[in-house]
Symmetry: none
Subunit: 224 residues, 2 copies
DNA sequence: GTGATTTTTTCACAGTTTTGACATATTTTC
DNA sequence: GAAAATATGTCAAAACTGTGAAAAAATCAC
């Protein structure tokens, strides 16, 4: 997946640089605008901006105005930056559809954390998580497994178990650890039940089944 | 249906009045803008403008610029007015997605005729958001569903559920997630009600019904 | 408003899948 | 080879889903 684009609007270049550096370091593509008019212009020519970070105090067109313009036809998440923590402003912001409100001075880490939270909430952040190991492919979100590109059917527990294995591939896992992570914490049954599930998993994985190694006297391990 | 709204953009008030009078007589509602910036502003605050008549030669922001701004996120039909019949301009206009091109001086009747033609061609409906998945087609705004191009009737909840599925096709959805997204957030009823709706949805989708897969112990998924 | 109709929700039961336990077989280690 | 640990087949219990019917709620027609 491509990097997500974030538009940073602030008249102070020092502030833009600060935010940009942190965002770039966090893996985003950053577009900058030094005033409101420019911001609106960039937003409407660039079609796939994932989020807007918007300063309120700007010459010419202020943040509220930019927000209104953008909101009038886009639901893109908007984070407002403000110098003073004015509650009335905050209210106005939320009415305009501002998603977050961060008052200066702020720690860039906080900004990044808020951004990630919003992107996660709006489902724009890396959902396409596909785990692989040798010939085994697991799409967690689709709940789908392939062995050498042939889809296979796994039960709920088998799937959970496989995900746990593949997320810890190459690591020896004790039965106790597996129980604590794949089974509910309140499960007090036989630890040997894992054997049964490993058995079924191995058989469903076909000729990739032997990737699950037995660590004698200890537990299991998914070969990397 | 309400009168269709047409936005007329020209810096000459004489010209605007001329066009407006004819359009009003033809049964349209007319909005006027005397410059490009104003035009963009009006266009984005008014959400249901059916067509834009746009003069090219204007101070501040010219017609091309307005066209670009509007086109960057709307497919509304645009008719350009120009004083000189410059072929190169025309080319540029069509590349920008201009629908018609009328050179001044023009007869108002011609303008109205062209407008009617375009509106007929575009079915007087600007943009229709149509979701698809395999043989299933959903027109969200028209609240209409087709299965293999045969229209089918769905109740409100069934429709909402299908939209949620299709907007998340290929993703396994837990009952909890479905409840939180399709039902109101404060719904605390039986999660099994989803099963009932899935059942009805499956049956109404006919032979496409089995695109909705059961993820055992987890929820449902619409096959991509 | 009233009564009829449609939609939504609940519920119970039947049918299915999964799960975990157990007994037995096999493998590993010493 | 014996002891200890794991693999496997079987199976009943548990968990879950599909379904039809009925109750409740919302909507419509008058």
């Amino acid at each position: 997946m491509d990097k997500l684009k974030i538009l940073v609007v602030d008249d102070e270049s020092r502030m833009r640089k600060l935010v940009r550096d942190f965002l770039v370091k966090s893996g985003y593509e950053v577009l900058e605008a030094e005033d409101g008019a420019r911001a609106v212009d960039i937003f409407f020519t660039q079609k796939d901006i994932a989020l807007v970070v918007l300063d309120i105090m700007m010459p010419k067109m202020d943040g509220w105005q930019v927000c209104r313009e953008i909101r009038s036809h886009s639901k893109v998440p908007i984070i407002m930056l403000t110098a003073k923590s004015d509650e009335r402003d905050e209210l106005q912001g939320f009415q305009l559809g501002v998603d977050e409100y961060i008052s200066k001075p702020f720690s860039p880490k906080i900004l990044v954390a808020r951004i990630e939270a919003i992107l996660r909430r709006t489902n724009q952040l890396g959902q396409e998580e596909i785990l692989t190991c040798a010939g085994i492919k697991v799409d967690k979100s689709a709940h789908q497994v392939w062995v050498d590109d042939t889809p296979i059917e796994l039960s709920y527990k088998e799937f959970e178990l496989l995900v746990y294995f593949i997320e810890n591939k190459g690591i020896a896992l004790s039965r106790e650890k597996i129980l604590n992570n794949v089974w509910n914490y309140d499960y007090f049954g036989d630890a040997r039940t894992i054997d049964t599930h490993v058995k079924k998993l191995r058989s469903k994985l076909g000729n990739r089944g032997d990737l699950i190694k037995t660590i004698w006297g200890m537990g299991y391990k998914l070969e990397e």
